[in-house]
């Protein structure tokens, strides 16, 4: 893991908001999110289900459900150009070659009626105008790069003829087709069994290093975060809770939520005891006030938490969105 990010960010997200349509009106799934992605670095986005991790990724990629979601405000800038402000045709032309996304469920993200080779090469044909033959050669090459045996044969197979892990590799090959600078991996290993998870993770990291890509890795697996991340963004109820270098965030968490998350990792010492869990339920997104979203479950909550928490800088490049950040010194490591 490198010391700190340098240069201009490849992709920079400012004040991003995503809302989903619910029977009670538009519910804010993501509100006011800021972060940057730098070349050759990995940002892990951590949070429980419903914390807005996938909504963020989908908003960047432009693959939110067509009618059920909207982005009321925010800026997603690629090399300084705001994607959200562009006309759709231009957005399409810019987004594909820069950002690629590995979906959680490769089965759903691959068209069941087209051979995988065709789908991998489709981006190249759209953006680079490759011939059918050249595109197929590219697909075979990519299938080889992601470790699929006999890629030439595999290219003419259909998605259902692959196992789960192989299908995820196909998915990765498809996202690599345009040599993206940013790779968004939305829980890429959740649908896989543990041994395959490790292989896919290894593959993603190797590819990132070979290509100097920026990787945005969305997960709720704390162990994975510790292995892959340079920076960590912890999300709760669609807002940032804590952002900073992985070792300090995991080693000395500043936000009570991060702390509680890390404390809930099962460890050998806990054998025989109940697992430490965070009490209460995540909030209903439609009933979020302006105060700290974690307040009802937070052991440190006081009256001031009814006010929206400010971004409190702890060290360089590290922010904690909590009123009580300055109250006490960062506590000792919970993860060794």
């Amino acid at each position: 893991m490198n010391a700190s990010p340098t240069g201009d960010p490849v992709l920079s997200v400012r004040d991003l908001c995503v809302e989903f349509r619910t029977p009670q009106g538009w519910a804010p799934a993501v509100s006011g999110l800021d972060f940057d992605l730098y070349a050759n670095r990995t940002l892990a986005v951590l949070g429980e289900s419903g914390s807005g991790k996938s909504a963020t990724a989908r908003a960047i990629m432009g693959v939110l459900p067509a009618n059920g979601a909207r982005v009321p405000r925010g800026r997603v800038a690629v090399h300084g150009a705001d994607l959200l402000a562009m006309r759709p045709a231009r957005r399409r032309a810019i987004r594909g070659p820069v950002v690629g996304m590995v979906f959680q469920d490769a089965q759903a993200a691959l068209n069941p009626v087209l051979p995988v080779g065709y789908q991998i090469a489709e981006g190249c044909r759209v953006h680079r105008g490759l011939s059918r033959r050249a595109a197929r050669a590219r697909a075979v090459d990519l299938l080889g790069q992601v470790g699929i045996p006999r890629p030439a044969r595999a290219a003419s197979r259909f998605p259902h003829q692959f196992s789960g892990g192989m299908r995820q590799r196909v998915m990765i090959a498809a996202t690599l087709a345009l040599d993206p600078e940013v790779l968004i991996a939305d829980e890429p290993t959740t649908a896989l069994d543990v041994t395959v998870q490790a292989q896919i993770l290894r593959l993603l990291l190797d590819l990132q290093q070979e290509r100097g890509m920026s990787l945005m890795f969305i997960t709720h697996d704390m162990g994975v975060v510790a292995t892959v991340a340079d920076e960590v963004l912890v999300m709760y109820a669609g807002r940032s809770a804590e952002y900073g270098p992985a070792d300090t965030v995991l080693g000395a968490p500043g936000h009570p939520y991060t702390k509680a998350l890390l404390a809930s990792i099962p460890r050998p010492e806990h054998r025989g005891q109940d697992l430490p869990a965070i009490g209460g339920q995540p909030p209903e997104l439609t009933q979020l006030g302006t105060g700290c979203a974690f307040r009802p479950r937070c052991p440190k909550a006081t009256d001031i938490c009814r006010v929206a928490p400010p971004a409190v800088p702890l060290q360089a490049g590290r922010h904690v969105w909590c009123h009580h950040t300055g109250d006490r010194p960062a506590e000792p490591a919970l993860v060794s």
Partner: protein
């Protein structure tokens, strides 16, 4: 140097490679029917009395006898020759109407599901209007106004009133597909609307409409007979199964063979088209059915 040679198992056949024998096999009955529709004479003359217009009133509604396997109709014409000659207009109307509503359904249904918004609203409301209109009354009015009862006009009027159900099913099926990740992904990385629709939406949502289309051929043929019954469809001396079924229902208690002969041909035709539709559906969707081995 003769190490153990690894035995590579024979590769599972890719169902999309080479000659689609299964499809050809399932298309065979339909091809035979089409052949009869184009050139009915050889089959009609198989029993020696191939002319549908050579009639003898003395044989009116007569039963089967040598050289006349289906017997005679009311005019004393050979029923076999009539039914075989009826294939042409019946199958032609069935195919024309089905083809028309299939094209309309796939086109409008996909557009409505992909673009939603005002495109969807417009298409859906027009469908509702046609749905709400009593189709039979509408067809009678239009055909009466046209005054002309050719295969073309009858087909056009049938199509005009029967496209909404199939379009609605296509729209629903395409709506379900349009929000799936691979469609969103394709448009997310930059494929244009037409490409996404043709490559991703239509192939994944067309199956129910194909099945419906294979069934529609039969129901269109019977609908044509209903129009004939109301006096606005084809009429004699035009020969169609609708005309024959219509003529038969007055006396079918005494002379059931008049009804059974065209009904038998109609059933065989419908069955053949259903077979073909099923085979096409399997071939379009590689994960379904037995075609993946």
């Amino acid at each position: 140097m003769s190490a153990a040679v690894e035995q590579v198992p024979a590769r599972a056949r890719d169902t999309r490679r080479g000659v689609p024998w299964r499809l050809v096999l399932h298309a065979l009955p339909v091809l035979v029917i089409l052949a009869v529709a184009i050139a009915p004479e050889p089959l009609a003359g198989a029993f020696g009395n191939g002319d549908p217009h050579r009639c003898n009133l003395g044989n009116s509604r007569g039963g089967a006898r040598n050289g006349h396997p289906f017997g005679f109709d009311e005019q004393g014409c050979d029923l076999w020759a009539n039914v075989v000659h009826g294939t042409r207009s019946s199958v032609l109307i069935g195919l024309l109407v089905t083809a028309a509503i299939f094209v309309i359904a796939v086109l409008l249904g996909t557009l409505a599901a992909y673009y939603r918004g005002w495109v969807d609203t417009l298409i859906s409301r027009v469908m509702d209007i046609v749905f709400g209109f009593p189709a039979l009354v509408g067809m009678v009015i239009v055909l009466t106004m046209l005054g002309q009862r050719s295969v073309c006009t009858v087909s056009a009027v049938l199509a005009l009133f029967s496209w909404p159900p199939m379009t609605r099913i296509m729209r629903g099926s395409a709506l379900a597909v349009a929000d799936r990740d691979f469609v969103r992904a394709a448009s997310g990385y930059g494929a244009a609307g037409l490409r996404v629709m043709v490559r991703h939406v239509v192939p994944n949502s067309i199956a129910p409409v194909l099945v419906l289309a294979s069934l529609a051929v039969g129901s269109v043929i019977t609908a044509e007979s209903a129009l004939t019954f109301l006096g606005v469809g084809l009429r004699q001396p035009a020969i169609s199964w609708g005309v024959q079924l219509n003529a038969a229902q007055l006396t079918f208690r005494q002379h059931p063979h008049l009804l059974l002969a065209p009904a038998l041909f109609l059933s065989i035709t419908v069955l053949s088209f259903v077979q073909l539709g099923e085979a096409i559906r399997r071939r379009l969707h590689p994960t379904h059915g037995r075609s993946v081995r």
